[in-house]
């Protein structure tokens, strides 16, 4: 097998793994958009907030320590304990559910029936507010997150591929775990949506609000539920990304990468979010590998957006959307 092809295979695999993370963030967008028509700009910040909260809880950090010290003149920063990652994750889930409830009760409830652009603006406000709260609560320095996920080269794959191709692939253990977790998460979501009472109600609300009300579904409850699920998805994405590159404010920028994913997959399609994420992940890695050297590299910064632009021009409904036919 030619050398270039073998490298390309490795690049493709790595791209798939990166795509999983894009897909996760995009999934959070799709969930909320489907159920409420809200394009949640804060999805990326939610991932950041979740990851910061997780680190803070694990390290026994005192929330709002700066504020407390400034007012009372103390020097507390930590409780002096650490909390096992599993329990800390559960606590963080509880925080995300609380956040979902607050968002619904304090903000979204009062904006029911407003124009989509107003709802969108509200989520922009929410994004900056949440970023500020995260900063105030846990401090702005970069934190390392270690919940016990193995990292570094997977030696088994390295060895096997070496035996076959005479060249060992570099696949990160973290990426493998991320892929498995994401697959489990999506499977869980599908089972939830298909077979549970709340999941069915969620699909009903996503389809038609009036009809949902008429069969006895509380929209408020479902919206809190959907924001909670999106918060959970954000936590998973935050854990993976945070483990990889540290928990820092640039984490909220991954939300921007989810935008081209949504243009590809469509804003309302869960399979679309997944496939779109994978395509962008693989696409940008392969493009950098094949074309990057010719144009001076760094194509990963713009490849996804250009691809999305092409889609907007030639297939605006996305990969899975129905063809848009103008009725006159």
């Amino acid at each position: 097998m030619p050398e270039q092809l073998i490298f390309a295979m490795e690049v493709t695999l790595n791209g798939l793994m990166a795509g999983v993370l894009y897909a996760l963030v995009a999934l959070g967008f799709v969930l909320i958009y489907k159920a409420s028509g809200i394009f949640n700009y804060a999805q990326g910040v939610m991932a950041l907030f979740a990851a910061m909260t997780l680190v803070g809880i694990m390290n026994g950090q005192v929330p709002f320590a700066h504020l407390i010290n400034a007012i009372f003149g103390g020097h507390i920063t930590h409780f002096g304990w650490t909390i096992p990652s599993f329990i800390a994750i559960l606590l963080t889930v509880a925080v995300m559910v609380l956040l979902a409830w607050l968002v619904q009760v304090l903000v979204m409830k009062h904006l029911v029936g407003q124009e989509p652009i107003i709802l969108f603006m509200a989520t922009i406000g929410l994004a900056y507010f949440l970023e500020g709260v995260a900063d105030l609560m846990w401090g702005s320095e970069i934190k390392t997150l270690d919940v016990g996920i193995p990292q570094g080269i997977n030696l088994w794959i390295d060895e096997k591929t070496y035996n076959i191709f005479g060249y060992g692939f570099f696949i990160d253990n973290l990426d493998i775990v991320a892929t498995i977790v994401a697959a489990l998460l999506v499977t869980g979501l599908v089972i939830f949506a298909q077979y549970t009472k709340q999941g069915r109600a969620m699909r009903a609300v996503a389809d038609d609000h009036q009809a949902a009300l008429s069969v006895g579904i509380s929209l408020n409850f479902i919206w809190v539920l959907v924001w909670s699920v999106a918060g959970f998805v954000a936590l998973v994405a935050g854990i993976m990304w945070g483990t990889k590159s540290g928990v820092q404010f640039s984490l909220s920028l991954i939300a921007l990468k989810a935008l081209p994913v949504l243009m590809l997959g469509g804003f309302t399609s869960i399979p679309g979010a997944i496939v779109g994420g994978l395509i962008i992940g693989v696409g940008e890695k392969l493009f950098e590998f094949a074309i990057g050297p010719m144009v001076g590299g760094a194509t990963e910064n713009w490849f996804a957006y250009v691809l999305a632009l092409l889609f907007l021009v030639f297939r605006p409904q996305g990969l899975f959307g129905e063809k848009i036919i103008e009725r006159v």
Partner: protein
């Protein structure tokens, strides 16, 4: 009359289940309902008729909690009903259909009808996960009711069809099926036969009569086709420009001068 009566065709009509007292509903300057009172009795088919814009749908929306009247009081099963959200009304056993069909377009017929059972699913999220037997039994029971309704309304052949692909007449029937799946004690139908051809209308009339007869479901319906109204209903409320201008048996209403004027378009003063 409080204890009810027996109709000509031998059906037993009971006491008052739903009473609207001095209902007034305004939208800005528009008064959609002006100080209207009427009641619905157990087991009867109650029609609401009137020209376009008379306020019929608004009245149905008040009953089902979609609109909140500025004045007046709703009594349900003898008790004054506090202000309720539409989903709370639905959970009290009041099911409805809409004038402009509100179905879950992305789901199959079966899934649509199944949503009518959501209120009967008691086991919550965690029970479903840990206590599988209970959830399965519940699912089977709900399925049985749903299949019965599907058979009853003769829509077996489209069970698996996505609703979006159905013609208008069948959509109306699926909407009725979803409402029936909830086994409602009061069924509200907003123009169940609008836009149907003669044959479809006959089918729908038959279904409405059968539902009332076999399950004893109380039905309030809005309909424009006078022939249908006269055939189906036990008592009729007539509205015009938000006011009640007639209330009684089809015969009484037919001979009411105000009603005749409203339908012949006599100028309002």
């Amino acid at each position: 009359m409080e204890e009810g009566y027996v109709t000509e065709d031998g059906r037993k009509i009971g006491g008052v289940v739903m009473e609207m007292k001095n209902i007034t509903l305004r939208f800005g300057g528009v008064v959609a309902i002006k100080d209207i009172s009427f009641d619905i009795r157990q087991g009867e088919i109650r029609a609401i008729i009137g020209p376009n814009g008379a306020g019929k749908s608004s009245m149905l929306n008040v009953i089902s909690g979609f609109y909140v009247p500025q004045e007046g009081q709703v009594f349900y099963q003898g008790k004054p009903r506090p202000q309720m959200r539409p989903y709370e009304v639905a959970r009290q056993g009041i099911a409805r259909t809409f004038q402009n069909i509100a179905l879950f377009e992305g789901m199959s017929v079966l899934d649509n009808v199944m949503t009518g059972r959501l209120n009967y699913m008691k086991t919550g999220l965690f029970q479903q996960a840990w206590w599988k037997g209970k959830a399965e039994q519940e699912e089977t029971e709900n399925r049985e009711v749903v299949e019965k309704v599907i058979d009853f309304l003769e829509i077996q052949h489209i069970r698996k069809t996505p609703v979006a692909r159905l013609p208008y007449g069948l959509k109306k029937r699926v909407e009725l099926a979803r409402a029936l799946a909830a086994e409602p004690s009061l069924l509200l139908l907003d123009e169940p036969m609008a836009g149907m051809n003669v044959e479809e209308k006959e089918d729908m009339s038959r279904f409405i009569l059968d539902v009332n007869d076999e399950f004893g479901t109380t039905i309030a319906l809005i309909e424009h086709d006078m022939g249908v109204v006269m055939d189906l209903s036990d008592r009729v409320v007539v509205m015009d420009y938000g006011k009640k201008i007639g209330d009684g048996t089809p015969d009484e209403v037919r001979n009411n001068q105000d009603v005749i004027d409203a339908y012949l378009g006599v100028a309002h003063d």
